[in-house]
C-alpha cells in the first residue's frame, strides 16, 4: 500500500486521473476523474452511482479506503472521519480529489446499487411503542406501489413532520419486510425528532422518507460474524440477523449488545427469542451501569469480547456511538482482524 500524503505530484495537474474502485464481490469499476473533480462525481459521470447521501462530507456514507495512489480531502473542513481513519487510508469520496492514478476499496458489493436504488416515498406510522425509557420502536407501512427494497444494514432518512429537518435511521426489520419497516429511535430530552415522537406522532400519520442508503451491508459469503451494537445501534444488527438466519449453513454469530443502564435496556425478549430460533447465535448483553440488574455484566460491549471469539476468518460489524466504534476497531485490529474485515456504520449524532 502506498499512500502519499500532501501535494506530491507525479501527474501533470491537468491530466485526468485513472481511478479503480474495488467492491467486496471482487468487481472493479474503472473511470477517469478530472483533477478538481470529486471521485463520487466522476464515478457518477461514468455511470457508477456509488453509495452516498449528504455529498458535503458530514454523513460518512460514501467512505472508501485508498489502497494505491494518492488522494486527499480538503483540509480544515469538518469531516466524519477522524485523523486516524484518514491516515489509515479512509476517504470520503464526495470530498476526495485524486492527485494521481488511484485505487479504492469499497465495503459493499457492486450489486448493491443496481439492486435497490434509493427512492423518495411516503409511509404511514402503523405502530409506535416505547421499548425502553429512551427508545421508541417505530413501525411504518410502505405502500406496495413503491418500488422499495433494501439490503440488511442500510438506512433511511426520515423527515420530521412540519420541519425541514431529516434524520437517518437504520432499518431494523428484515429484508423480507420491506413493506413494514421498523426503526429503533433513541429519544433525547430535546431534539426535533425526539419531540415529535414524544408529543406529536400518531398512528396513521404519513412521513416522508428517502432510502435505502448506506453501504453497511453483509458480505455475500457466510463467515463467522461478530455484531457489536451500542444502544439503538442494534437496529441494523436485527435486520442482519434476519438475513444471516436464512444463509445455509448459518455461520456462528456473536452479538455483543450494550446499553447505558437497566431503564434504557430494550429487546431482551426479542434477542432471547432469536437465540431460540437461530441455533448458531450467541448474545452477550452488557450494561454500563448494571445497578439493579447484576445478572448482566457491567461494562461496554467491547469489555465482553474475549480473544477467542475472533477467528482468522471472522468479519465484525459495528454500530453505535463513535467512541465505541473507535475502541472496537482498535481492539479487533489487535486481535488480528484486517481493517477491511471490521465494518463500521459511521454514526453521526445529529439531534438538535
Amino acid at each position: 500500500m502506498t499512500i502519499v500524503e500532501g501535494t506530491e505530484m507525479t501527474v501533470p495537474p491537468t491530466e485526468p486521473r485513472h481511478i479503480a474502485l474495488r467492491f467486496t464481490d471482487g468487481q472493479v469499476r474503472e473511470f477517469d476523474a478530472d483533477p478538481e473533480e470529486a471521485i463520487l462525481t466522476a464515478a457518477k459521470r461514468a455511470g457508477h452511482t456509488l453509495v452516498s447521501q449528504c455529498t458535503v462530507g458530514t454523513c460518512g456514507t460514501c467512505v472508501g479506503t485508498l489502497i494505491d495512489g494518492a488522494a486527499e480531502m480538503p483540509a480544515g473542513q469538518l469531516s466524519a472521519l477522524s485523523k486516524d481513519e484518514v491516515s489509515a487510508g479512509q476517504r470520503l469520496l464526495c470530498q476526495t480529489r485524486a492527485l494521481r492514478d488511484s485505487s479504492f476499496d469499497l465495503e459493499y458489493p457492486s450489486t448493491l446499487l443496481e439492486a435497490h436504488p434509493p427512492v423518495a416515498f411516503r409511509a404511514k406510522i402503523s405502530r409506535l411503542s416505547w421499548v425502553a425509557d429512551t427508545v421508541v420502536e417505530l413501525e411504518l407501512k410502505v405502500p406496495k406501489t413503491i418500488k422499495f427494497g433494501f439490503a440488511a444494514g442500510q438506512y433511511c432518512r426520515i423527515q420530521v413532520p412540519g420541519t425541514e429537518e431529516w434524520r437517518s435511521y437504520s432499518i431494523a426489520s428484515g429484508e423480507h419486510e420491506r413493506f413494514r419497516l421498523t426503526f429503533l429511535i433513541r429519544i433525547l430530552p430535546s431534539g426535533v425528532m425526539s419531540d415529535f415522537l414524544r408529543d406529536g406522532a400518531r398512528t396513521g400519520q404519513v412521513l416522508d422518507l428517502e432510502g435505502p442508503l448506506g453501504g453497511f451491508v453483509l458480505e455475500p459469503a457466510p463467515r463467522p460474524t461478530i455484531l457489536m451494537a451500542g444502544g439503538t445501534g442494534l437496529a441494523p444488527m436485527l435486520s442482519m440477523l434476519d438475513r444471516l438466519r436464512t444463509v445455509q449453513p448459518t455461520p456462528p454469530i456473536l452479538l455483543l449488545f450494550g446499553c447505558n443502564r437497566p431503564a434504557e435496556l430494550f429487546h431482551e425478549d426479542e434477542l432471547a427469542a432469536r437465540v431460540s430460533f437461530i441455533p448458531t447465535l450467541e448474545v452477550r448483553t452488557v450494561l454500563m451501569d448494571n445497578e439493579g440488574r447484576d445478572d448482566l455484566p457491567a461494562g461496554t460491549p467491547l469489555s465482553v469480547l474475549r480473544p477467542g471469539d475472533v477467528l482468522p476468518d471472522t468479519v465484525a460489524y459495528l454500530c453505535g456511538p463513535p467512541p465505541m466504534i473507535r475502541a472496537a476497531e482498535e481492539r479487533f485490529g489487535e486481535l488480528g482482524l484486517p481493517a477491511h474485515d471490521i465494518r463500521a456504520e459511521q454514526f453521526v449524532p445529529s439531534e438538535n
Binding site: P143, K144, T145, G174, H176, E177, R178, F179, D242, R245, T246, Q248, D269, E270, A273, R274, S276, F277, I278, P279
Partner: protein, 397 residues
Amino acid sequence: MALTESAIGNSGKVARQYAPYVQADWGFANHWYPACFSDEVAVRGVVGVTIGGHDIAITREDDGTVRAISDRCLHRGVKLSAKPMCFANKTVTCWYHGYTYNAESGNLDTIVGSPDDKLINTVSVRTYPAEEVAGLIFVFVGDDDYGTPPPLDTDLPVKVTDNDDTPHFRDAKIVTRGLRRKLYGNWRLAAENGLDPSHLLVHWDNQIVVALDRAMPLGMKAMKDDATELLDVENGPKGVMNRYDLPENYQPVFENPIVDIKARGTTMFKPFRVSLWLPGILMVEDWPIPGVTQYEFYVPIDDHHHMYFEVIADHASTEDEKKEFEFKYKNFYEPLGLLNFNNNDVFAREATEEHYERFDGWNNEVLADADFSVVAWRKQAAKHGRGFFQSPYFDED
C-alpha cells in the same frame, strides 16, 4: 378469574419465539413444493400454478422431461397456461401474440408472426428447477438469486421409525394417487390442523368413522413434555412428529364425563403416526388404514389461499397389485378418506382463517397445554425456513 384477559387472548409474547413463522404469511421461499400431479401434464401440455405468489407454467418435453417457467408472458403479462400452445418440442408459445419461449432456458426463441423481430433472443422469462417423484411434479420456488437449490430430498418426508414398512417417497415400489384443490385460508392454519392432537373432535360425527364403528379418540393426551419429537435429519428434511403408536408418548382420550361425551365406536385400529415437515407437508403413516401412508401438502398460493394436495401412497409391484390399489383409491380412499373425512378438516381450517386474517390471530390466541405440539412445529419451522415469499401484487394495500 380474569375473564377479560383470557377472553381477549394475548399470545404476542410466545409468538416472538417463532417470529419467522409468524412472518411467513406468504409461505417459506427457497423450498421445493409440489406443483401438480404428473398425469396432469401431457407431452407439450401446459399447466399453470401459483406458489407463494409465483405464477409458474409446467410443461413436458417430447422425451418426458418436465420443465417449469414463469407463467407470465413478457409482452403483455398474460398467463401462458390460459391457453396451452406448444408447437415445437421444448417450447411454450403464448397464445396471444405468439411469443415463444424455450422451456429449458426461458429464452424468447421466436415470435410466431414476427420471426425477424429484434426482441428475439434478447429477453427471457424466469425458469424454475423441476423434478418428478412418485407421481408428483416438484418445483423449487424462491429468490432468483438463491443459488444452487438444495436437493429435493431436503424437502421430502422420510421414514424415521423402523418398526414397520409404511410407504415413503423414495421407495422403489411406491404407488400414489391423489387430488388437489385450491382452498381459502392461510397455509399455516391448514398445516397445523393435521398435527394438532386435540383436533380429532372435528371428526367425532364423521360418517366413515360412524359406519366403520371406528374408535376415534376425542383427543390425544401427551404423557411427557417431549411427546412431540423434533425431526432434524442431517442434510435432510426437518419437522416434528407425534407418535400416537407409542403409549409412553400419547394416550387416547375416549370420554369426558364433565360434558357427558364418549367417543363413538368400539373397533380399535392400529394407532397412526403424524409428522409435519417443512415447508408444509403432513405425513400420516398407517392412515387411513394400516400399511398405507397419507401425505398432505399445504402449498401457499397467496396469504389467504393454499393448494391442498391429498395423496395416498401404497406399495405395489405387480400389475394386479397396482390395479387393486387403483380400485381401492377410486372406491374407498378418495371418496371416504380424502373427501368425506378430510372435509371435516377443511371446514375447521376455513373457519379459523377469519380470526387470523382480521383479528391478528397469531398474536391473539389463548393456547392450552395441548397446543405444545403446534408450538413445537412453529419453532421448528422458524428455525429451518429458508426465506420468505412476498406479495408480488401492486394493487393491494
